[in-house]
Symmetry: C4
Subunit: 243 residues, 4 copies
């Protein structure tokens, strides 16, 4: 019995296991859509009632799934404290904690439901290659995060120096300037804050010419390491065929 359940819940190579996984995935997707619809202003009483019912249904299914996963796991504690175990719990916990806390706290907890989205990743096998690529460029990405951090700091401190007097509200401190620095270096450029003094503009000019690439380099690194990961994978498959 327990072995049968284990195949159903954990093994997605069998037909039943696949069906189970797809059903859970679809339910996660629908519960996320329901979660989004709930935030719409001016929804009718009937819709809200239906959403509340659907929410309860999801929580029941996810709870059963969670308990099943603990039951079939060889080391239940290892599952419970694994990354996905915690996410699975966080997806259902807010519902059960409603009663014990006051109504307003409920909303804050509900945000944790977005972690359900991560459950979608769980079932994706293509992630293997991504993990391989991430391992290949981990060091470079950490280095670039540090360089980006330093760069954001220099940009913030510099623009604060140039613009603080002219725009004391927008560039009130280095922390306020950091908002400008990130929005500029990522090239989002909302246009809510921008330098107006000649000095600030020339400084931004230099920062942009040097720095615009720094923020996009990690993306390029991931892209090129994914090509590398594919090559490694192909080589491994070839080696297997030879054997």
């Amino acid at each position: 019995m327990r072995e049968k359940l284990r195949v159903l819940v954990e093994d997605n190579t069998t037909r039943k296991g696949k069906l189970f996984d797809y059903l859970i995935q679809v339910l996660i997707l629908f519960s996320l859509i329901a979660f989004s619809i709930e935030t719409l202003p001016n929804i009718s009483k009937e819709t809200r009632a239906f959403l509340d019912f659907f929410e309860m249904f999801c929580v029941i299914v996810f709870s059963i799934e969670y308990l099943l996963r603990i039951y079939v796991a060889e080391k239940p504690l290892k599952y419970i404290f694994s990354f996905y175990g915690i996410i699975d719990l966080l997806a259902i916990l807010p519902f059960y904690l409603n009663g014990t806390l006051d109504f307003r706290a409920l909303r804050a907890f509900r945000v944790f439901r977005i972690f359900r989205a991560l459950k979608l990743i769980r079932y994706n096998k293509a992630l293997h290659r991504f993990h391989l690529a991430a391992k290949l460029v981990r060091e470079e990405i950490i280095l670039f995060l540090i360089v980006t951090g330093i760069f954001v700091f220099i940009a913030s401190a510099g623009i604060y120096h140039f613009e603080n007097e002219a725009q004391p509200e927008a560039f009130a401190s280095i922390f306020h300037s950091a908002w400008w620095a990130v929005v500029t270096l990522t090239t989002v450029g909302y246009g809510d804050v921008y330098p107006i003094t000649a000095g600030g503009k020339i400084f931004t000019f230099c920062i942009l010419i040097i720095g615009v690439g720094i923020v996009t380099i990690p993306a390029g690194l991931v892209a090129s390491s994914l090509s590398k990961a594919r090559e490694i994978e192909e080589k491994e498959n070839e080696d297997k065929l030879i054997k």
Copy 2:
């Protein structure tokens, strides 16, 4: 006779076939320009009359071409229900449907004429390499579309949580916030909506540092896989030369 027409219409290695293809391509281009000019406000009666005449001319030529393609095809039904067959039909259908439906519906149908642009691709041989590259990175691109989707959802839900109270109009629901999320993560940053609370700004800060790359990674993947596709092609050509 039918064989001669088949060479003219389908075979673009002969001189006549090439000429036919180029003429059709030029006509598609001109019909698209005419379609664009039609949308200009305040165009004179004479211009509109000429455009209507040109439109009719195009439809007649494209109709003849469409019928010819069916006539010369070995399996007419296969062509009719192929991707290009449907596009070829959509390029002429709106004109014939004018009479049967009321005048206002016409405008909606006319939008389908933009599919003619895709006919331009049909004749481009360089696409082969692109198809090869697309096949190489299909899995990664699907994975990144999923990751992007999850990321957009987390960004939308998070910013809704932080900004809903301060800006109840711009961040009215998770769906409204998704507009902000996409405009921000693609680094377009129109500036019509942006966080104003400290919490929302810090959240955006984190989202941008982590997420700005995620949206640009697929582009990098396609670029690097195109290099790979060129290498494969070169190897194939070398192998042919050796034989």
Copy 3:
């Protein structure tokens, strides 16, 4: 005598030839700076007089250089009608045409002086690798320009359909909408035009998810082909060493 001048003007491997090249480059740079300063509003009479004098000096030097290049060239006509020959002429022509045309036409001609900037490239040897890389990805870049063109057209026609009624000024025609399409797809996003209807926003959502990469792919292609070009160059150098 002519041989000596040829070495001075065309051969930048000798010490004198190098000096000549550097002096011309510096003069080009200064003439560009002078050209920029001339456009500044409220410059004093003395400055303008100096700039006019410097302009005359530059034109004289560039004229002598141009005549020298014709004199020392083995096939003078080939040089005159070459890309750089035409640019060299365009750099001095506006000055001589001043007298024959009225004063207002002068300003339009002056814009051609910016072509002098291209002369700076002429002397750069590192361009060889770039030319090699450009040849490697020429086909893909042409294909992507076509795809980008089609994409911009579809985006323009689509957003015109969705936004024309709501914003008849900003999206007055497909041509007006093309401005939005380019500013959005290149992720510049000034914020002067953006969709406001739900349909237009959802359309933009889709266009951005699919299309944001298309515009950046050529850059990735150039970057990866430059790596390839370096490898080819290294191999060639190794082959030479072996011989």
Copy 4:
């Protein structure tokens, strides 16, 4: 004694050396945070007093470190005039110069403290690969900076020509237009200046289609050369293992 100190200060392979390095790094980080907090408006007297005290503490520690580094260096003068020697001095100098200059000059000097951030890099070993990659693509990056410079100039001169009459304030000169050119070509697009004439828009259209990649190519070059640097490193490690 001097040898013991040398191990502590310069050798970060021993346990004591590592601890020393981490402590210095943490102090640098905290002093940067303190520097940022100081810029906040409306901070209480107590906080300011604490920050002043902490600043003094940092300067004392950094001064001792600086003197130690001179003391243990084999060639003290070489260290003093090295890149890091100058940065180490700049991190403490503003504090000692306070007394000799008037109060307002103090603020300008304080900006140099941000160079302390660069000290954080000093201790990072992963930089080796980055240096290797930078050396690989140095020439290409210099070439692209030149091309970017020319492109920014052409864009500035062109848009000045088109927009100067319509927007005499925003596009007052080529220098003013250069602000627009950089903000546009880096795709930041604040939206404070943008073309409004048809000519200016068509010009921007062309500039964007051609130029948007040019600014992002260096980032792609660095990313691909980092992959190359990793390959070189792996090969070197393999060669060592074989020996």
